[in-house]
């Protein structure tokens, strides 16, 4: 085996391991009973059995990805607006908005949102959406500002319209940084989403909350491991996407 192949294998090892362990944990949690049994109190069940791990994982994924998608759309659009010549005046507004979303604790958002939106998916979605805006917005702005001015000047000089320059030059060149922002936001929200279970949203947090209520460390560990594996999985997926979009980039001189 060549050194390059060995190193490429090594790079994909975390992804492969995360997928393997996650699939085993979801499909056959009983396999892990001896492991979790070592931390659970005497007499309690070691494996959460009130709902299937598999369906809780899908619920968890759904809420994180849905909130992430909407955060991405809003934050990228805001980032585009404030980097246009006519939109620069919206910069303070956009910064305040996205910073507020991050600075306001998701738990507090839930407390405010529940009376307005009821229990379950909706308040959690709002909390995650607000929490995920800042990294995407800031990275979009940084990405668009990193496009060399001569490149844009040349594009204008050749007769490209503003829309075309944005689509064909600015966004592709900013893509690695924008994706890095979405990555951070998504990874953080996999963990943050667990608090949704305190207001009745379906997700892996449910196991952790059950563990906390019944003092069952095995449950807490189980939920935590599943969330962590999801986060690792998506982290690797984003890493691949980022290297795909940045492989043609010149090393900054």
């Amino acid at each position: 085996m060549t050194r390059a192949r060995a190193s490429s294998l090594l790079r994909h090892l975390p992804l492969a391991l995360a997928v393997l362990v996650l699939v085993l944990l979801l499909a056959a949690p009983q396999l892990f009973r001896p492991l979790f049994a070592t931390v659970n109190p005497l007499g309690a069940t070691a494996i959460y059995d009130r709902a299937s791990l598999w369906s809780l994982t899908l619920d968890h994924l759904e809420i994180v990805l849905a909130a992430g998608l909407v955060s991405t759309i809003v934050a990228v659009l805001l980032g585009i607006v404030v980097t246009r010549r006519d939109g620069a005046e919206f910069m303070p507004f956009a910064r305040t908005l996205t910073n507020l979303g991050q600075a306001f604790p998701p738990v507090a958002v839930l407390a405010i949102a529940v009376p307005l939106l009821g229990f379950g998916f909706r308040p959690t979605f709002v909390a995650l959406f607000a929490y995920g805006l800042l990294p995407i917005f800031e990275n979009t702005v940084a990405g668009l500002r990193s496009v060399p001015p001569q490149t844009i000047e040349a594009a204008r000089g050749m007769g490209m319209s503003r829309g075309r320059i944005l689509r064909e030059v600015e966004l592709p060149l900013a893509a690695p940084l924008i994706l890095a922002g979405i990555r951070i936001s998504t990874i953080i929200n996999f963990g943050t989403a667990t608090i949704g279970s305190t207001v009745g949203a379906k997700g892996l947090g449910e196991i952790i909350v059950a563990g906390l209520q019944s003092n069952n460390t095995a449950y807490i560990l189980q939920g935590g491991v599943a969330v962590a594996l999801l986060a690792i999985l998506f982290d690797r997926i984003f890493a691949i996407a980022i290297s795909r979009t940045s492989r043609h980039r010149a090393v900054p001189a």
Partner: protein, 327 residues
């Protein structure tokens, strides 16, 4: 034909370009020269409306550019800048194809044109077409920049210090390549530079600018012989104007018949018929400057002239060369 009439651009009360009028005939290359901030780039960028004039007008073949859609206008004008501005995320072939693609050319026609341009700029398509800009040297990138500007065969080319960032050898080679292409394809060029040597080498006419105004517009030879006193004379530098005058002409026009037996050919070398010593001859296309430096080096007053095949066709007298460099 490009006509600038009383063109003025005011920035914060300062006239960056002040009442500039120029008429550039088809197929000529005009160099705009001057120090940084003299308004030469601003003038250039008003032609394709990257900057809008404060007053005055620009016409291309009698059509006012202000009446045209800016994007349509720019699609018909090649544009090359010092930073090159190649798209880093696009291959060399894709970069060159930019304007033809914007114009909606068929894929086959674009591919043919890209191939043709890569050949024209000595970039082997097999090697370069699929590379990305950062994989190329500065000189190669600049070649691609010029090729990209010429892709849709624009009749007009605007160039803003296109060769400024290159090393002297690469710059000289690109200048020669570009000069040939420009003359052969009869492209009308406005060329901004602060390098007088470049302006004298490439320019059919040179416009010297200072503080937003055009002070003098002349052919290189007339500019050297009759520069305005003051800024123009200082900027051109009169100390070595003789050398520059000699650079403008080739020795071909000064070759006269030599007496039989004056020069001998032996094994590809040229020998002085009287002394029998080998001498370096002048060749077709050599500038008078090159001949002068050889005459001084050899401490002689005559050099043999050969044709492209290396055969003696006559000789060049030092006095004829000196005459070209005197007032």
């Amino acid at each position: 034909m490009i006509t600038l009439q009383n063109l003025t651009k005011i920035y914060g009360g300062v006239k960056a370009v002040n009442d500039v009028s120029l008429t550039i005939p088809d197929g000529e290359l005009w160099a705009l020269v001057g120090t940084s901030g003299c308004g030469k780039s601003t003038t250039l960028r008003m032609v394709n409306r990257l900057i809008e004039p404060s007053s005055g007008s620009i016409q291309i073949d009698g059509v006012d550019v202000m009446a045209m859609n800016p994007q349509a206008l720019r699609l018909g004008i090649g544009y090359v800048i010092q930073g090159i501005g190649l798209f880093p995320h696009r291959t060399i072939a894709e970069n060159i194809a930019t304007v033809p693609r914007l114009l909606g050319w068929k894929r086959g026609r674009i591919a043919e044109r890209v191939d043709e341009l890569l050949h024209l700029f000595s970039l082997a398509p097999g090697e370069f077409a699929r590379k990305y800009p950062h994989q190329l040297s500065g000189g190669q990138q600049q070649r691609v920049g010029v090729a990209r500007a010429l892709a849709a065969e624009p009749p007009i080319l605007l160039m803003d210090e296109p060769f400024g960032a290159l090393d002297p050898i690469t710059r000289a080679r690109l200048q020669m390549e570009f000069a040939q292409i420009q003359k052969r394809q009869k492209i009308t060029v406005i060329f901004v530079t602060h390098d007088m040597d470049e302006a004298f080498l490439l320019g059919d006419r040179i416009a010297v600018m200072d503080k937003g105004r055009v002070l003098q517009v002349e052919t290189p030879e007339n500019l050297l012989r009759r520069p305005q006193p003051g800024f123009v004379s200082d900027f051109i530098g009169l100390d070595d104007r003789v050398i520059r005058l000699l650079s403008l002409r080739t020795v071909d026009e000064a070759v006269r018949p030599a007496a039989p037996g004056r020069w001998r050919e032996a094994d590809g070398a040229i020998l002085d018929g009287t002394t029998g010593k080998p001498v370096a001859p002048v060749r077709p296309g050599d500038t008078m400057r090159e001949a002068a430096s050889r005459i001084i080096w050899e401490n002689t007053d005559v050099l043999p002239a050969v044709d492209a095949g290396g055969h003696v066709v006559g000789e060049v007298l030092a006095s004829q060369i000196w005459a070209q460099g005197s007032r």
